[in-house]
């Protein structure tokens, strides 16, 4: 049988941050790379994100945050994934993060963080290397 398996990614905007241009651009880049992208829209709680990711059976969650609440929201997503036994879903983040936060978030289990300097090629390549079909 021809391999029809596709990587599925959820792009989510946690918290009160109301700016999703970046998330939409990333979603498009993922689509153009051949991934199936589920977009949740704005103002999602970590609980909603994790529940949706499980229903959608995604391989990765991309969290976008520009409003500064990432130190709570991102680790909370990882915590909930562990609670649900879904820690095999890779989590990465994009947005504006101070260097010391990046270290803290990686320790919390966020696999990679992309900041305003990251190119779309780099982000797509990272997914191709680091996200495997579960």
């Amino acid at each position: 049988m021809v391999d029809k398996r596709k990587v599925r990614i959820m792009v989510a905007k946690p918290g009160l941050d109301g700016h999703d241009r970046g998330a939409r651009i990333i979603a498009r880049a993922y689509r153009d790379a051949g991934f199936e992208v589920v977009y949740t829209g704005l103002h999602q709680t970590p609980e909603e994100i994790v529940e949706s990711a499980i229903q959608e059976d995604v391989d990765m969650i991309g969290l976008s945050s520009l409003a500064g609440a990432h130190k709570y929201l991102f680790p909370r997503v990882l915590e909930l994934l562990r609670e649900k036994g879904a820690e095999d879903i890779v989590v990465c983040g994009g947005g504006i993060f101070p260097d010391e936060d990046i270290e803290m978030l990686k320790k919390a289990g966020v696999k990679e963080l992309f900041t305003p300097g990251s190119s779309l090629e780099e982000i797509v390549r990272w997914v191709k290397i680091n996200v495997k079909l579960r």
């Binding site: 029809k4 689509r31 153009d32 991934f35 977009y39 949706s52 229903q55 059976d57």
Partner: protein, 323 residues
């Protein structure tokens, strides 16, 4: 029974999510699971919702979920969005309008991509419907963009098919004439506060009235409703019409179970055989002996494509005497 089937029947969300993924990906081993869960299907009421992009399908479904939950019914949603023909990827954005239900355990929402033309969309959507049915959902709402035969087929396998339009899309109504009209059980004019909704209402009613076979005794005559989904206006009326249509199905066919109806079973089985043929033969064309050679012969002008097709197919289907 396999543990996956047991989990699905028990309503385990992760098992259901994974099984739908495997159906989408066309893994052969899912067939065994589908066989096992089959006896647990046939209980859900399936509603197909179709219409052009932007008419408000997802918003309407969001409200319908609300109405069904108020009646204490559980709901499964399959939202189908197109795959990019260039990259094979897709952006599935229907969830955005329904996210307020994501924490509700009585609701399961799944986005699906149309995949390629050989993806067997009708088949995989029907199988996914079976899975949500077996997990115990009372209602299953299937959303598709109403273009293409595949998508018409999907809504055809619903109990009630709702066609959604918006005012002022004259061409849209024209397109309906071409075939979708026959599959619509209920027509909904969404965004009915916009200019031109009365005109659209009249156009649709006229079209339905012109269909003389609907005048026969006991035939369901599709109602046309005005709705403003975003304000939850007219949605309760829609739910009542759906109930009424369900009752009419019971009256006509003696029940709601599709697999008790010869026409539906014939359709489904034909589709299934077609898909297996595609899976087993077409998707493996490159492995088939002589396929590349035939391509080369045609390119070099040594053979015509008709002869080439015979030379590939006849050894496989020879005993059917395809001439």
């Amino acid at each position: 029974m396999s543990s996956i089937a047991e989990k699905v029947i028990a309503g385990d969300v992760r098992a259901v999510a994974r099984l739908i993924r495997d159906i989408d990906d066309g893994l052969p081993e899912v067939r065994d699971v589908l066989k096992e869960i089959y006896p647990y299907t046939g209980r859900a009421y399936v509603i197909g919702i179709t219409g052009s992009p932007g008419v408000g399908k997802s918003t309407l479904i969001d409200q319908m979920i609300n109405h069904l939950r108020r009646r204490n019914k559980t709901v499964g949603v399959l939202a189908v969005d197109p795959t990019s023909p260039f990259s094979g990827g897709a952006i599935l954005g229907d969830r955005v309008r329904m996210q307020r239900h994501s924490m509700d355990e009585g609701v399961f929402i799944r986005s699906m991509a149309t995949r390629g033309q050989f993806g067997g969309l009708t088949q995989s959507t029907r199988s996914a419907t079976d899975v949500l049915d077996a997990m115990g959902k009372d209602y299953i709402l299937v959303e598709t963009v109403g273009v293409g035969q595949d998508e018409v087929d999907i809504v055809k396998s619903a109990h009630t098919t709702v066609i959604l339009v918006v005012p002022g899309m004259g061409d849209d109504v024209q397109a309906l004439k071409a075939g979708i009209l026959e599959v619509g059980d209920i027509f909904v004019i969404n965004k009915a506060d916009r200019e031109g909704s009365d005109r659209t209402l009249n156009d649709l009613r006229l079209m339905i009235d012109m269909d003389q076979k609907l005048d026969a005794e006991g035939m369901w005559k599709p109602p046309v409703l005005k709705v403003q989904a975003v304000f939850d206006k007219g949605v309760e009326e829609l739910m009542e019409e759906i109930d009424r249509h369900g009752k009419s199905l019971v009256k006509t066919y003696g029940g709601l179970h599709f697999r008790g109806r010869k026409d539906k079973v014939r359709e489904e089985l034909t589709d299934m055989v077609k898909n297996r043929l595609i899976e087993d033969v077409i998707n493996r064309l490159n492995e088939i002996n002589g396929f590349d050679a035939a391509v080369n012969s045609i390119v070099e002008g040594k053979m015509d494509p008709y002869t080439a097709c015979d030379s590939i197919l006849l050894p496989m289907l020879g005993h059917f005497g395809t001439t």
